[in-house]
């Protein structure tokens, strides 16, 4: 590179420092909610203008083509099978639910609001009965009305895991914990609506009867997996290739890993839908294999935003921060990136050895590995995501990871090692997904800092495609001796249940597809979860969440890296842009508009 | 050939500006040198001879004696295929039918090639293009020099094939070289080289690649054709037998020089140079008892980069010490007349040669 480049780079270095300062300040005073955040009407709204607040709402006009760029296709576009965050977000274009996330920025976006239903549920006092009435004029893409039976059928599909695997199964667990219903495809009854727990007295009314109360039930109904599906349009395993639309847009064409095009569903009526604004006429998704290429095209303005909503890759991030800061937002994703210690692998059965790792780790180094304070997130100090009620953020820092020990505390680590009976440290293996470079980087960082306290680790990159089979199988973890597993987790819906239940509940230790990697079997924690599901008062729910979080942290099962943040791109064409906690800090796709 | 004797005696000194010779082909003080990484290879180093129409000259010598290079030099092909290598240096004069080729325009020489002078190569298999039929190749050779259409040329090709004794020429004309036997191939080669009735025909080891029976036929063929076309022929070979049959004159080359020259029968029956004796001795002859061992020439050919001082042959010569005071190793012998129209380059005196020939060599032959 030429000499000009050098001087250029020096300037940048200086600039960089300034930018950090600027960024951090803006981020700090974020969350304010003026309904038409900064920026000129024509140009980009400005840095963080759409983070937890709406940017350029009034600039949104009807029409135009909204262009998504994607580095990865959805696991499935079938409402029953999709589990990727962006899929849930995107699915609102072509599917509606009884209730859905409010189309509001930030925390408000996590609240449940009526969609197909006229209003939110009438809940019986025991919290076991939920009743909804469908609003008038809700139709499928062929103009036929959406009935309560369609909703029931759509929900029932989740029972057919053998055909429609992949999606969340909360409803199944709550409505039919004993798995008595075999799913619609094996349903003997004529109308295939054999699920006892749901009743549809008429086409407009639907009643859910829970064997056990669950305070998050309505949150579960707000998930995409509770969308209606019409029996005569159910193509079973191939439904994801062309879902039958109940929303403002319908599939025009879709070639997996290549392109997806949505066009207006002319049968959809604005009047029948309090949630969706449906600004653009057409929505396209193009898939890339070269992430840098994709970012470059976003920055060039060929596309409007990233479907994956995972943030720009390092190269694009740098370019954007230097030249197009006003097109960026820096939201909190609601994900926590962490290392977890399976108790089945010695010496991690001993909590002191676990804590030795927590103290030995250089948290700042881990943060840098994740991408630094801006692109990576704030140093993680506990396991409850900021978006979940009851979270205290960095205020709760049992191991002082963000303060005194942020570069690791060798002395304390050694103490813990002594207490653990391994004064000279020990050997173990870090398991990390091979398709996540950033996670590999954190593994390397951890490896480097643990060396200092005498803990030597071998990094084992396992096939990211086989997560459920490799680290999801406790026996395999034990066999391989994965003492440290690097993972990340975000809430399916913002509650300690939607986030922590699979991770921390003893009942969720599975032989395969396990997510309770630490193998936590703690009476108190399990008890707290029980209380939580029965508790209907939000304040108390938050309190319980807090307690669970503390219990988990005190056990030293987890080493949080960061409360994840990412640098997200929005093109200057976009209007009515805002991030939503309902979709872990992603832009709320369904109401994006384009300027003319 | 008297004046030739003079120039022959004056081997080494360039004879520039001398008038166009009467002879059909006259080569004067020809030098062909190849610069290589190992040094300057003097493949031909001052060769002089001449040849009349209708006559045949046999050039004999081991590989590396410079005989092939000589012929290529005459054809103007000594630099062929030497891409990027240091170019061969050629000097002297080559007069063909009154034109000096070395100083002539290369394109003019090219036009002469194939029409005025043609060449038969040693290994017909590798010398014929494997991908073209015999016919195509002969036709091509003909049409370069004659503006005629394919049909005519093809008829000519068949006629030539017939002439050189290839059965069913009208069929074989469309065969590929690899479909021919060795002898047939060589016949085809000859047909190709004679298709333009060249005045000079150079046959470079025409029979080496062939088995003995076929050799004879080919030689006969060449002889007949020469009679018919009346062209001058140079036969290059290592086999005295071959030249003995064919040629009027014989020129023996060693280390890029001529060491004996004279009428065929002279050189063959009364050779004067020990090297020629060696060649004779190593030659199988029908009139000799087969049980008798041959007398090979000991040792290997000299390096053309630095020839042995004195007589180039001295390291391998059994009689190197016959002449007095080590002259063979110090002084290079020049050609001297050793009989009528018979020259040899050897330090031994007539008497010494006579004695050794009659007493030691002749009986063994």
């Amino acid at each position: 590179m030429s000499t000009q480049r050098t001087t250029g780079r020096r300037k940048q270095a200086v600039a960089a420092a300034a930018v950090v300062a600027a960024l951090l300040s803006t981020a700090a005073c974020g969350g304010g909610d003026d309904n038409d955040g900064g920026g000129s009407k024509s140009g980009a709204a400005g840095f963080d203008a759409a983070n937890n607040k709406v940017a350029q709402a009034s600039a949104a006009k009807k029409g135009g083509t909204l262009k998504f760029a994607a580095a990865q296709d959805a696991d499935s576009w079938d409402t029953t099978r999709g589990y990727y965050g962006f899929m849930w977000n995107f699915s609102r274009y072509y599917s509606r639910q009884l209730v859905t996330n409010a189309t509001e920025p930030g925390a408000k976006g996590a609240a449940v609001t009526p969609d197909l239903a006229e209003k939110t549920a009438e809940i019986s006092d025991d919290g076991k009965t939920y009743k909804y009435t469908l609003r008038d004029g809700v139709t499928w893409e062929d103009g036929k009305p959406i009935t309560s039976k369609d909703v029931k059928y759509g929900i029932e599909r989740a029972w057919a895991q053998d055909v429609l695997s992949g999606g969340p199964i909360y409803l199944q667990q709550v409505l039919d914990p004993k798995k008595e219903y075999k799913g619609p495809y094996k349903d003997k009854s004529a109308d295939k609506l054999g699920l006892k727990a749901i009743e549809t007295p008429d086409d407009k009314t639907i009643v859910f009867k829970l064997p056990e109360a669950n305070s998050d039930f309505e949150e579960m109904l707000a998930l995409t997996s509770a969308s209606p599906v019409r029996q005569d349009k159910d193509t079973k395993s191939k439904y994801g290739l062309k879902p039958f639309s109940s929303g403002p847009y319908k599939f025009q064409s879709y070639t997996p890993n290549k392109s997806l095009i949505l066009v207006r569903n002319t049968e959809w009526k604005q009047a029948s839908d309090p949630v969706r604004k449906a600004y653009p006429d057409k929505i396209t998704v193009n898939f890339f294999t070269n992430a840098n290429d994709m970012d470059q095209r976003l920055i060039n303005g060929d596309y409007d935003l990233d479907l994956g909503q995972t943030g720009l890759s390092p190269q694009g991030r740098t370019n954007a921060l230097k030249q197009h800061k006003e097109n960026l937002d820096n939201p909190v994703s609601g994900y926590i990136r962490y290392a977890v210690f399976p108790q089945s692998v010695k010496p991690f059965d001993n909590e002191h050895c676990r804590k030795a790792v927590i103290y030995g780790a250089d948290h700042e180094s881990l943060q840098t590995a994740r991408g630094g304070p801006v692109a990576g997130g704030d140093i993680g100090t506990n396991m409850l995501p900021p978006s979940v009620p009851g979270s205290e953020g960095q205020k709760y820092d049992p191991y002082e990871s963000a303060t005194t020990n942020k570069n690791g505390n060798v002395a304390k680590a050694k103490e813990e090692l002594k207490a653990c009976g391994k004064p000279n440290g020990f050997k173990t293996t870090i398991a990390v997904r091979n398709n996540k470079p950033v996670e590999v980087a954190t593994a390397e960082s951890l490896q480097a800092s643990l060396k200092k306290v005498g803990i030597t680790v071998d990094i084992d990159q396992f096939d990211g495609a086989q997560t459920t089979g490799i680290i999801g199988s406790p026996s395999n973890v034990k066999k391989k001796g994965y003492g440290i597993i690097i993972m990340g987790w975000g809430p399916d819906f913002p509650s300690v249940q939607g986030y922590g239940l699979p991770l921390w509940s003893g009942d969720y230790i599975l032989e395969s597809g396990n997510n309770n990697f630490a193998l936590i079997k703690d009476k108190t924690i399990d008890g707290l979860f029980k209380d939580y599901t029965k508790e209907l008062d939000d304040a108390k729910k938050a309190e319980i969440s807090k307690e669970i979080n503390h219990k988990v942290m005190e056990g030293g099962y987890y080493l949080p890296f960061v409360f994840e943040k990412f640098i997200n791109w929005r093109s200057s064409r976009l209007a009515n842009v805002y991030t939503s906690d309902g979709y872990s800090g992603q832009y709320d796709f369904v109401n994006l508009g384009l300027k003319k | 050939m008297t004046e030739l004797s003079k120039s022959g005696a004056a081997v080494g000194e360039p004879v520039k500006g001398s008038p166009a010779p009467s002879a059909f082909l006259e080569v004067r003080d020809l030098k062909v040198h190849f610069p290589t990484d190992d040094g300057l290879v003097k493949s031909v180093d001052g060769l002089t001879f001449s040849l009349e129409k209708g006559k045949t000259l046999g050039i004999v010598g081991e590989s590396g004696s410079g005989k092939s290079v000589t012929s290529l030099g005459i054809m103007g092909l000594h630099t062929a295929g030497q891409y990027g290598k240091r170019k061969a240096q050629i000097s002297g004069e080559i007069w063909l039918d009154g034109t000096e080729l070395l100083s002539a325009d290369p394109d003019h020489v090219r036009k002469l090639r194939g029409r005025e002078m043609a060449m038969i190569f040693q290994d017909p298999l590798s010398a014929l293009h494997p991908y073209y039929t015999i016919g195509q190749q002969i036709v091509e050779a003909y049409r370069i020099h004659h503006k005629v259409d394919k049909k005519v040329a093809r008829r000519r090709a068949i006629e030539m094939l017939d002439r050189v004794g290839i059965p069913q020429p009208d069929k074989r004309v469309d065969s590929y070289p690899h479909e021919f036997s060795g002898g047939m191939r060589q016949r085809a080669m000859i047909a190709m080289s004679l298709v333009n009735n060249p005045e000079l025909l150079i046959a470079d080891e025409p029979t080496t690649a062939l088995d003995v029976t076929v050799q004879a036929q080919i030689l006969d063929l060449i002889r007949d054709l020469q009679k018919e076309f009346g062209s001058a022929v140079i036969v290059i070979t290592h086999d005295l037998g071959v030249v003995a049959e064919l040629s009027d004159d014989i020129l023996v080359m060693y280390g890029g020089r001529c060491i004996e020259r004279g009428p065929a029968e002279k050189v063959f029956y009364e050779p004067k140079h020990p090297y020629t004796w060696g060649l004779l001795g190593s030659m199988p002859r029908l009139d000799r008892d087969q049980t008798e061992r041959l007398i090979p020439v000991k040792g290997s050919p000299p390096s053309l980069i630095n020839l042995p001082t004195g007589c180039a042959f001295n390291p391998r010569c059994a009689y190197a010490d016959v002449p007095k005071d080590n002259v063979t190793r110090t002084v290079r012998p020049e050609l001297s007349e050793v009989g009528s129209q018979h020259w040899a380059a050897c330090h031994m005196t007539q008497e010494q040669r006579e004695r050794i020939w009659t007493e030691e060599i002749a009986p063994k032959l």
Binding site: M1, R5, T6, R9, A13, A16, N292, S313, P314, Q315, T318, L321, D362, T368, A369, G372, P373, V374, N434, V440, E444, Q447, A448, D458, I459, D460, D463 | F34, T36, D37, V41, S43, E62, S63, G64, S68, L77, A80, Q82, G84, K85, A88, F121, Q122, D123, S126, E205, T208, V212, H238, S282, L294, P296, V297, S300, P301, P302, S303, L304, I305
Partner: protein, 337 residues
């Protein structure tokens, strides 16, 4: 025809230039000074400046690879220590200009981790050369054995081997290598982590490489087998294996050497490609290909990080190729450069 004098054989009818060369005593001619093929080759090679340069670089690289730890420690660096202090927290690129090149960090430091690039390049040479050489070795050994067998015994042996070779050449190789390496278990034969990957890569790359050698060797064997001196040896009643080893193998040395030198750079590139696709050696082990693939995320913000491993691969492969060409020309009887 008797050959008491040194006659040109039919298949070696020399062109003017060649005849000159022959007499000059080079190539496989029965040289006047009777110099050995090896010596001639060496003398030719000595004249080929480019090839020599290539050879020298190769030699240096080998030394570097062998003494990697020493060299790294000389500059007081090791490939695995992190230097986050040198990383810009916002862009996670090195703070210094030119990718943080400085007195301590001759080639600068990696983005994110701040590991010393010089040290990693030096250690990376080990991986590249190891894979390059060993897989070439595997290929050559397999190729030679099978090629000779096929060419010499002909018949069904030849048929079988040739089929297999065609087959392997018809395989979409890179695809297979990726697939195979990506599903390989993490422990096998007592090896773990990088060990396994290296082992697998070497075997697989070598395995897919042998048909190329095999073809050449087979061809050579076939032609040599027809050369009359083998015939002669046979008529003298020499055993087939005697012929095989005494006559053929020496003549195969040249092509084999050439092919080896030609194959090594290709293998190095393949290793790089595999690491680039994420199925190469495992972190924190340094590999050029891996660095390059990581660097692609910083091609603009930290170009040096991409340039350095890129150039390293380039120089290595280039010098191997130059050297290889030189060796080929030197061993080629026709060539005279």
């Amino acid at each position: 025809m008797t050959a008491p004098l040194h006659e040109p054989t039919a298949e070696a009818a020399p062109s003017a230039a060649e005849e000159a060369a022959l007499v000059a005593g080079s190539g496989e001619a029965k040289a006047v000074q009777g110099r050995s093929l090896g010596r001639i080759a060496w003398e030719r090679l000595k004249r080929d400046k480019l090839a020599l340069a290539g050879g020298v670089v190769v030699l240096v690289l080998i030394l570097v690879a062998v003494f990697a730890p020493l060299i790294a420690s000389l500059v007081g660096q090791d490939p695995e220590t992190h230097h986050e202090d040198l990383i810009d927290p916002l862009f996670s690129t090195p703070t210094g200009s030119f990718g943080g090149i400085s007195g301590d960090h001759l080639f600068g430091v990696e983005p994110v981790s701040g590991r010393d690039i010089f040290a990693r390049i030096v250690y990376g040479a080990r991986i590249s050369l190891l894979v390059g050489f060993l897989s070439a070795l595997v290929a050559v050994v397999l190729g030679t054995i099978l090629g000779v067998l096929a060419g010499f015994f002909g018949g069904w042996v030849d048929a079988a081997v040739s089929r297999v070779m065609d087959g392997l050449l018809a395989f979409p190789q890179l695809l297979f290598i990726i697939a195979l390496v990506s599903v390989m278990p993490n422990e096998m034969l007592g090896l773990t982590g990088t060990g396994v990957r290296l082992f697998v890569m070497i075997l697989v790359i070598g395995f897919f490489g042998w048909p190329y050698v095999g073809r050449v060797v087979r061809g050579q064997t076939l032609s040599l087998r027809e050369r009359e001196y083998v015939e002669a040896a046979r008529s003298l009643g020499a055993g087939r294996f005697y012929i095989l080893f005494k006559e053929l193998l020496p003549n195969l040395v040249a092509p084999i050497i050439v092919y080896t030198t030609m194959m090594i750079p290709t293998n190095i590139l393949t290793e790089a490609a595999l690491s680039f696709l994420g199925v190469g050696v495992k972190p924190p082990t340094a590999s050029w290909g891996q660095m390059l693939s990581a660097a692609i995320d910083y091609y603009d913000s930290d170009p040096m990080y991409m340039v350095i491993p890129g150039v390293a691969i380039f120089i290595t492969v280039l010098s191997f190729n130059l050297f290889g060409d030189g060796v080929r020309d030197a061993l080629d009887p026709k060539g005279s450069r």
